[in-house]
């Protein structure tokens, strides 16, 4: 199996330009797109906005790598994180899209390769039902109603610490339940 190029090797290839440029850029985008999407979902709670963030950040990364402003892997991580933070702030205020440039098309393709995990509604209902009332309510209030832990605790007459422990276990149990048919079918 061909080993994946390191971030340092990809940055060097992009800075060098030439025949390997596009492939190195594509590899960098593939590597970082799912991670940036995750950051975007965490902060924006919206799939479309998370994809917008992936595009915005990767465009900035490619530009900086081509101009050799980012040469070391540590610089790259700081650049990605910093650009992501700024872009999240902007995306919260703006909700507009520009006409895609060729670079945007390239990074959009990488973004669309980011993993998706569509969950069957019936399976989700069944798995949530199997958790028991309290764990199910903690998950629903935390993630569907997006209440903070203190609010969940107040609603369910629990401590904040209880809410966190119940949430850790319930989310793991839910994940295991959602994955179970896949394992059985494998």
């Amino acid at each position: 199996m061909k080993a994946e190029a390191s971030d340092a090797a990809l940055l060097a290839a992009i800075a060098l330009g030439g025949a390997g440029l596009r492939e190195a850029e594509r590899a960098l985008c593939r590597r970082y797109a799912p991670r940036i999407r995750l950051y975007g979902l965490r902060h924006l709670r919206d799939e479309e906005h998370a994809r917008d963030l992936v595009q915005t950040v990767l465009l900035g990364v490619l530009q900086a790598a081509r101009e050799r402003r980012v040469r070391e892997p540590e610089q790259l991580v700081r650049f990605v994180l910093g650009t992501s933070r700024n872009a999240v702030l902007r995306l919260r205020e703006l909700d507009r899209r520009a006409e895609p440039s060729p670079d945007e098309v390239l990074v959009a393709a990488a973004g669309s390769e980011a993993p998706r995990d569509p969950v069957n509604a019936a399976l989700l209902l069944r798995c949530l039902g199997s958790l028991g009332d309290r764990p199910r309510r903690v998950l629903e209030l935390s993630f569907h109603d997006e209440l903070e832990s203190d609010e969940v605790a107040a609603r369910l007459q629990l401590t904040r610490g209880n809410v966190r422990v119940i949430r850790h276990r319930a989310l793991a149990a839910l994940r295991a339940c959602l994955d179970a048919p896949t394992r059985e079918g494998a």
Binding site: R35, V80, L81, D117, G129, F143, H144, R164, L178
Partner: protein, 176 residues
Amino acid sequence: MSCASPLSWETLVDWWAGDLDEAAASAVEEHVLTCDVCSGVAGRVAATAEAIRTMIPPVVGPEKLAGMFHKGIRILENPIAPGQTSDFHFPRNADLAVHVLGGLVLRPGARVEVTLRSLSTGNVLGHVEDAPFDAKRGAVYLACQRDYAQLDHDLVAEVRVGKDQPAAQYTILHHF
């Protein structure tokens, strides 16, 4: 592929739920950006939490229903009276069917409990302790999705308004 200092499931769940302070959250984010192993686990946390965030609950309130309608979701209503049996064919041209469990006297602030059972097995398929409702219309909205074809098709919805009142029953025989 390995990680010298992997983030725990608990830490990643706390991060996703917004339960870490700013410094700890930043440290998690930096690590997740650089680590294949931990970004994979974080992806599983995220996918599970996102499934809950984006799900359509089995019982929905009028505001949520209106929001889904405005997003372009094609909704078909199926009104049912208490004690009635509805032979329901899920339409091809709808994304969501809403069984309108009507004929209820619902005052604002009322506590409504909904239990969903399989008619044939008696198994409880879902239970909502403090269900949303439409007081003006005197109805509870039961959201039915095409994916529910995997569940038992014969359903009894019991709606109880207040602890001491008898439950109104609605029977729905689904055809997907």
